[in-house]
């Protein structure tokens, strides 16, 4: 069997990842994330205009007449569908949306209001808070789980890999100005679960090999373990990507951001299981006695 020398590139990819994280943090700090109405508050209206002789600029002109602040108009998936977003003007008036709909319908008789989302400032800040709590909580839960199941060196490796995945995925979203909404939080949590899953499978093998071999250096031992689990890693990532690509291309515009985040997450997560989690074990000089001594104590 061919053995790929993953360990030859630990340093190179370590540097590469470090660079990606720095760039991601830079983007997150200075460009920030493009929060959707879920987290920023405001109103989102999705419309369909049956005749296709309209354009984004025409739709924008019509909506501008209603005096809406921070108005954005975009095509949504095809040239009949548009998404209009703005900050709501008068929160206390329950008739506001209805009046707006009437005004717009006068200009576009063939309009179909497909979706209206209206999120008040209080709710959006709460959603953001609970999103951040959910992500932090899942990271903490993973840390706890892996700490119970493995030695601390393994937990550290796994958690660094997780932070790596989450930061870079969000960094890419910031770089590409992709919208962050509730489903992206779901995607990030799933990425956390998936990346952990991938790391755990390799770690399980590393520990197995550590028990069997006293004399193999951790550098080679991680390499051997990565190789032994490689076909599984590739197969699972591949079938998961097949499913995700199917959602991305066929699942409709609403799921596009979600599936894109997941696709990025799966790729980054698979990479980090190999090139972040394992080098940490090497750096921490994990050896046969890290694993075995502890188990003798137990007995």
């Amino acid at each position: 069997m061919n053995i790929i020398q993953f360990n030859k590139f630990y340093k190179h990819f370590g540097f590469f990842s470090f660079l990606l994280i720095v760039i991601s943090v830079f983007f997150l700090l200075f460009k920030g994330l493009n929060f959707g109405v879920d987290f920023k508050g405001g109103t989102l209206i999705e419309i369909r205009l049956e005749s296709s002789d309209h354009s984004v600029s025409k739709v924008r002109d019509v909506f501008s007449k209603s005096n809406l602040s921070n108005l954005t108009v975009k095509n949504f998936g095809n040239d009949k569908d548009y998404v209009i977003k703005f900050q709501k003007q008068n929160l206390k008036n329950p008739e506001f949306i209805n009046n707006l709909k009437k005004e717009i319908s006068e200009s576009f008789p063939d309009i179909n209001f497909r979706r209206v989302e209206n999120v008040g400032p209080k709710v959006s800040s709460e959603l953001l808070k609970s999103g951040i709590i959910a992500i932090s909580l899942s990271l903490a839960a993973m840390l706890l789980y892996i700490w119970i199941r493995f030695e601390w060196q393994f937990s550290l490796g796994a958690i660094l890999a997780l932070f790596h995945d989450v930061i870079i995925t969000l960094g890419i979203f910031s770089f590409l100005s992709l919208e962050i909404n509730l489903s992206i939080i779901a995607a990030v949590l799933t990425i956390v679960g998936y990346s952990m899953n991938d790391t755990v499978v390799i770690f399980d093998r590393v520990r197995d090999n550590l028990r069997k071999h006293i004399d193999i250096h951790i550098n080679d031992l991680t390499n051997q373990s990565i190789n032994e689990t490689l076909s599984r890693t590739i197969l699972t990532s591949f079938t998961t990507l097949l499913a995700l690509l199917s959602i991305f291309f066929l699942g409709g515009e609403i799921l596009r951001g979600f599936s894109l985040a997941m696709i990025l997450g799966v790729i980054i997560g698979t990479y980090s299981s190999i090139y972040i989690a394992n080098p940490v074990l090497v750096k921490l000089n994990v050896n046969h006695y890290t694993v075995v001594k502890k188990e003798e104590d137990k007995n």
Partner: protein
């Protein structure tokens, strides 16, 4: 790991058949009473409106404090205690006394048996907290006092909202409390919530009117039915009081004769009106009318002058609670704002279902084809397991009447992609074991055993993420966590029971073949 007892085999097959039946029952109408549960489509798939209402409880707090201030003044006056300079600021009542009375005031305010500052035995706290600094007192609602207030106002508002929504004839509305001051209203199939939104701003009409057989009553009379729609009574058109004068109503146990009663509290204007009317009409029946129907028509036994009264009758505690609730629900307890609104039109919902199912079919087919290409006969086993897994997943969702959302469908597709992971882990391990071990059965067996910890670990991590998402997420995203989480459990079941059973049958009948996997 490859040995199965007969009972186990039968159990596995039985469970599988039941869940396949359940999942198929979503597609076809089976004419039986076995189980009526179906998967519900979320609002994002069937179209509909989602409204989140928030109650502003400040007016209730102010009113409660205002009443307490009056109570206190009256109480101190009766006990000849000097207290002056009463004010309310920042939801606190302030007043001043002098050193001779400080101990006495504190004693009264911490009396656990008095109504002046009720004591909640279960929570070891009074309704009001009393701070005293030399001659100066401040009194404010305790945390639990506020909770009691919020809970009571939320209960009222939900009831009112429910009545209003029911009035519009919306199909299967879902009205839920959220936190301590919010109400969630889900209206399936409603693509324009404008009417509901304006209805929720209106006040229902509650009136107190005398029962009168006298046709010459100066205000005229009207015939009204009782709430049960059978009995009716003639009442005077003169409205003694309406719901606007009502501050609160609560069910109580009358300790004297051990009877359940409903006590109600009126504001100052209402109390005066009520006192005058009841003094002049002892012995008459007073009808309590809500939306043109008589809830009850108790007789006035004696003048009611304290601004609060009680209604006795043959109440159970439940019916008294209901009546109190109805009395309170004369008007919305406090202003409500719509703080979140999401409406999906029916055709976007249909488009989403189409797209979701299409991507499920394509994703599923791609995975199935790939597995056969990669593992041949074991690919078939993995695929059969995958199909059963999907049926189990849908069956479980059906059993619990779960709500399927668009992200929920994404969760199912993701489960398809990730479900083969466990089988792949096992097959790859078996391949390794076969290289070392001549006995194929032992090799398969140890393949299963050695991959077990990795599989369990790997699935638990994803399950943790799903559980957290379930508790923290809202709406459609929650649907994702449900399908993802249930998917993991059905995956483990199908891999360890169905796939293992199939593998063992295959191995036992083909153990002499040169190349098994």
């Amino acid at each position: 790991m490859l040995y199965f007892s007969k009972i186990k085999i039968i159990t596995v097959i039985l469970i599988t058949i039941i869940f396949i039946y359940l999942s198929l029952s979503n597609l076809f109408k089976f004419d039986d009473n076995f189980l009526k549960n179906k998967i519900n489509l979320g609002l994002d798939l069937q179209g509909g409106s989602y409204l989140l209402l928030e109650i502003d409880n400040q007016p209730i707090i102010s009113q409660t404090l205002q009443n307490k201030l009056i109570d206190l003044k009256k109480f101190f006056n009766d006990k000849a205690i000097v207290a002056k300079n009463f004010t309310i600021e920042n939801n606190k009542i302030f007043f001043e006394s002098n050193p001779t009375f400080i101990d006495k005031i504190l004693e009264f305010l911490s009396d656990k048996d008095s109504d002046l500052n009720p004591y909640f035995e279960n929570f070891k706290t009074h309704q009001y907290i009393v701070d005293q600094n030399e001659n100066f007192f401040s009194i404010y609602l305790s945390d639990y006092g506020i909770v009691v207030l919020n809970t009571s106002s939320l209960d009222q508002a939900v009831e009112i909202v429910r009545r209003r929504v029911d009035e519009t004839g919306t199909n299967e509305p879902n009205i839920l409390k959220r936190g301590n001051n919010r109400i969630l209203v889900e209206l399936p199939g409603l693509d324009n919530p404008a009417r509901i939104k304006s209805l929720l701003g209106k006040t229902a009409n509650l009136t107190f009117q005398f029962v009168s057989s006298n046709k010459n009553d100066g205000f005229g009379t009207e015939k009204l039915k009782f709430d049960n729609n059978i009995d009716e009574a003639t009442v005077s058109k003169r409205i003694i009081l309406n719901g606007d004068n009502l501050v609160d109503a609560k069910p109580r146990m009358d300790t004297q004769n051990n009877e359940t009663i409903v006590s109600f509290t009126l504001d100052r204007v209402g109390a005066k009106k009520f006192a005058r009317a009841t003094t002049e009409n002892v012995g008459k029946q007073l009808a309590i009318i809500l939306d043109g129907k008589i809830i009850s028509a108790p007789s006035i036994r004696e003048p009611i002058v304290g601004g609060s009264g009680q209604i006795s009758g043959n109440f159970t505690f439940q019916s008294a609670t209901d009546l109190a609730l109805l009395l309170r629900s004369g008007a919305l307890p406090a202003p409500m704002n719509i703080i979140e609104e999401r409406t999906v039109g029916p055709d976007l919902g249909k488009d989403s279902i189409k797209a979701g199912i299409l991507s499920l079919i394509v994703g599923f087919s791609l995975v199935v084809i790939f597995m056969i290409y990669k593992y041949r006969i074991f690919g078939l086993i993995a695929n059969f397991t995958l199909i059963t897994n999907l049926s189990l997943l849908i069956g479980v969702l059906t059993l619990f009447g779960a709500t399927l959302t668009l992200p929920g469908i994404a969760g199912i597709i993701l489960t398809v992609g990730m479900a083969v992971d466990a089988n792949v882990l096992i097959f790859e391990r078996i391949k390794e074991e076969i290289k070392k071990e001549n006995n194929k059965i032992i090799a398969f067996d140890s393949g299963y055993i050695k991959s077990k910890t990795a599989i369990i670990d790997a699935n638990i991590t994803t399950l943790i993420a799903a559980v957290i998402l379930f508790f923290m997420g809202s709406g459609p995203v929650k649907g994702f966590s449900v399908t993802l989480g249930v998917g993991i459990l059905t995956t483990l079941f199908s891999v360890y029971f169905i796939a293992r059973l199939l593998t063992s049958i295959y191995i036992k009948s083909n153990k002499d073949k040169e190349k098994l996997i």
